[in-house]
Symmetry: C2
Subunit: 484 residues, 2 copies
């Protein structure tokens, strides 16, 4: 994140609640908050966690400058003693999180914050903002890259992103989800992502002829040459001119190892097949056909099904905004208070069933099929619960509780997903590079059954509650209801 | 924008093209680019221009730091002479733009850049990014606020925005489009927007009882008190407890002028009517009922049609992401070269008809009906064309050219929309405050006929080409086609 003061990147009610706690001298009291989400974007059966590295930066730099204090003072709502507390604010709590690039499912904590209530409350909004955004784009990217198969996908969306950060951190998330490069130079610099791109229509229009424009570009850039062929007419003008230039380069012995064309309008299936034939006939079987123009996972899948001869995809708007589902519904809910050594579980009921929360200090166990390494289910339990892989394990659906499944001893393995990131305010975790996270994400995606990767109507992966957690939750629901 | 180096907030191909022009010694040659968009978001018949103030900041601060130069050097693509040019880069061109808050329509220039080709090319991506984002959110906000009528709408979306900037600049754009306040404290500070909010579910859950939580909050904040009533059960628990606290405040003589409740789940029409009745019966006719929970313009309209007793709307996700259309399709196209004193019009053809561009150095005239002050049509003309309101004016649709309309002398008025912002690299325009822009936007919205403000299937407003521009365009199309 930019090194500016982001202490005020929060909702106003966080500050009014903080002051409330402060004057009730409850500011030392610890609370546990879970960050989780309720449904996957874009009809996916899973999501990809992303944004943790920026959360770490945010927490490490979280102090209120005098300018911010002065602004808060000017609102006439905050008392001097509270402002003085903010002046010396530092995050002192613990944060556990699922690592970036991990496959995640609804209703399981992906971040857990254990901190004095004021601190836990302040950071809610920024954590949600950062993780919601990057997890959204990483998930969309995983879908787009899945549709593209082994083809390379480049993130092209900066101009349509929702502001500079959306372009910059969106490019990072797109790489985590599987993209290989970006057009965004600043993101390239910040996250060491290869930057790609050649020329725009304006280049072609700036020359007296398309041929001259292509020739000029190709002679300038000898390492790689992709010519945009649709400024005037793809098949009648762009392709013939590109082939002329490729032939000239070949004669000069300067044809680059990687070269080809970019299609940016028209019917990409039809044009790519025609272009392939023209290139092949001219002896340019190695020329790569790349395409851009309102691509998403569905269009890429359909183009490939129709035999489009495209092997390099530039995906812009629909990826950088996750256009069919532009928000990731992460929420941040109180699950317990800690008073002294006692954990007091808390629950929110709500008029909407799906807004019920899971109480207590929890952990998330991922259960894999030992033979295939695929995910069987996730199990949310209380932290003190212990499971032994050499024992049978009975899991059940928390809504349709009669749906049970018994895993045989030694047929499964268990992995705990929440990893310590901050302990007592100190960061204890070092983020991998963006490409290391991408590589880890590929191994994560391989733990999903194919049925759960399908773009449409994918098989859901169950997130179960342990019997102890289920019993705690339903006891608390009943206890609350009788009080009305 | 943050005071960081945003010179690299651009697509890689801008830099490769710049270097190409640089070594051809064409870097002094001027070009004209138009920034325009092709269709309105969310089925609207219009959009609201926004983002210009951040474009001005970007241009004013546009220099390459040594760190950026070093990064570009590391890519192995750029020559020392070109990097040295970047080291001394400064924008020296002219920028004309439609003012923020102006009602705009597809296919008319909303920004025009006249600058040396390298400069015009570099700034393309950032201009599109900033203007696309803020115009999108301002447009969505205008729709949401239209649905809310005279009710106040507060922007609540930071946690679901696509990164920090999307939350910050999205809040600004939401105010331009009609919102009255935001929950986003940093946006409040940066743009002098009132910040609002009271308490979250976690506050209620952190107390032993809801009543105690409400009482505690109300006693802390005496100026305004909105209690969130859906943590356990809106009608059985939240409302009765809120009324108890309002009664206590009344007895103590500390009931604030502005007070009420917030509904955040359940059926808002049903609950608000029940809540209104309960509050009224308890003598709290003045208590305001506010609501949040997945609101957008359609739901607000339907709730109001069903007699929901809500007069304050907190709109989050759907506004801050423009969820039903999360990208504004602004593009930036070369329209002319200037060589010496000669303007050479340029056109892009493309395989998609709607991607044809309008050539030449243009201006945008808005034609109002003199009697009503409503917009008759916009007319895009070449800059040298002159129109006299005392003469009849014949306008025609540029697609269905047989559709003509003759405006009688003195029955219409003409206003030029593009205003000089930068001349020779110097900013000649001072942005109003965000609330001044909001006020201007309200007057702009009043120039639309009601038929064009409808949320669904709204009447389009025509953007016509002058006969001279139309003739130029079609002559150039024909001339290009014969060369294939």
């Amino acid at each position: 994140m930019p090194q500016q003061d982001l202490s005020l990147l929060t909702d106003f009610y966080q500050l009014t609640m903080m002051q409330g706690y402060f004057f009730q001298e409850r500011f030392g009291e610890k609370s546990i908050f879970d960050l989780f989400y309720r449904s996957n974007p874009s009809g996916s059966s899973f999501s990809i966690a992303a944004g943790l590295d920026q959360v770490i930066d945010y927490i490490n730099n979280l102090t209120f400058t005098e300018e911010s204090i002065h602004y808060l003072d000017s609102l006439g709502v905050f008392e001097p003693a509270f402002l003085d507390y903010l002046r010396h604010f530092k995050f002192t709590g613990d944060i556990y999180a699922v690592l970036e690039g991990t496959v995640i499912f609804p209703n399981e904590p992906i971040v857990k914050v254990i901190a004095p209530i004021c601190e836990a409350q302040l950071i809610e909004t920024a954590l949600l903002n950062i993780i919601n955004h990057q997890s959204l784009i990483a998930t969309k990217s995983a879908r787009v890259n899945w549709a593209a198969g082994d083809d390379m996908v480049i993130e092209f969306g900066l101009r349509r992103a929702q502001g500079p950060d959306a372009g910059i951190y969106g490019a990072r998330a797109a790489v985590i989800g599987g993209c290989s490069a970006t057009s965004n130079v600043l993101a390239g610099k910040m996250f060491d992502i290869p930057v790609k791109g050649t020329l725009a229509h304006s280049w072609v229009m700036n020359f007296d002829s398309e041929l001259e424009a292509f020739r000029s570009y190709a002679n300038q850039y000898k390492a790689s040459c992709f010519l945009l062929v649709d400024t005037y007419d793809t098949l009648k003008s762009g392709l013939p001119n590109a082939i002329t230039v490729f032939n000239e380069l070949q004669e000069q012995g300067t044809l680059p190892e990687r070269y080809g064309i970019r299609l940016d309008s028209g019917d990409l299936a039809y044009l790519s097949k025609k272009a392939r034939a023209m290139l092949d006939q001219a002896g340019h079987e190695k020329a790569i056909i790349s395409a851009s123009s309102d691509l998403d996972e569905y269009l890429i899948r359909d183009l490939k099904l129709q035999g489009a001869k495209i092997s390099l995809w530039g995906v812009g708007t629909n990826l950088i905004t996750s256009s069919d589902c532009p928000a990731f519904g992460g929420v941040y809910k109180l699950s317990a208070q800690i008073v002294g050594d006692t954990v007091i579980p808390k629950i929110k009921l709500s008029d909407n069933n799906e807004k019920l929360t899971d109480p207590g200090n929890k952990k998330v166990l991922r259960i894999y099929d030992k033979e295939t390494g695929k995910i069987k289910a996730d199990l949310v339990t209380l932290v003190h619960e212990h499971y032994d892989e050499s024992h049978p394990l009975i899991i059940f659906d928390p809504i349709s509780t009669w749906k049970t499944s018994t895993l045989k001893p030694n047929s499964y393995t268990i992995r705990e997903l929440l990893v310590p990131i901050f302990i007592n305010g100190t960061c204890v975790y070092e983020s991998p590079t963006t490409f290391e996270i991408k590589a880890y994400c590929q191994t994560e995606l391989a733990t999903l059954w194919d049925e759960s990767r399908r773009l449409i109507n994918a098989q859901i992966v169950y997130v179960d509650l342990s019997e102890e957690l289920y019993t705690l939750k339903h006891t608390m629901i009943k206890a609350s209801r009788v009080s009305f």
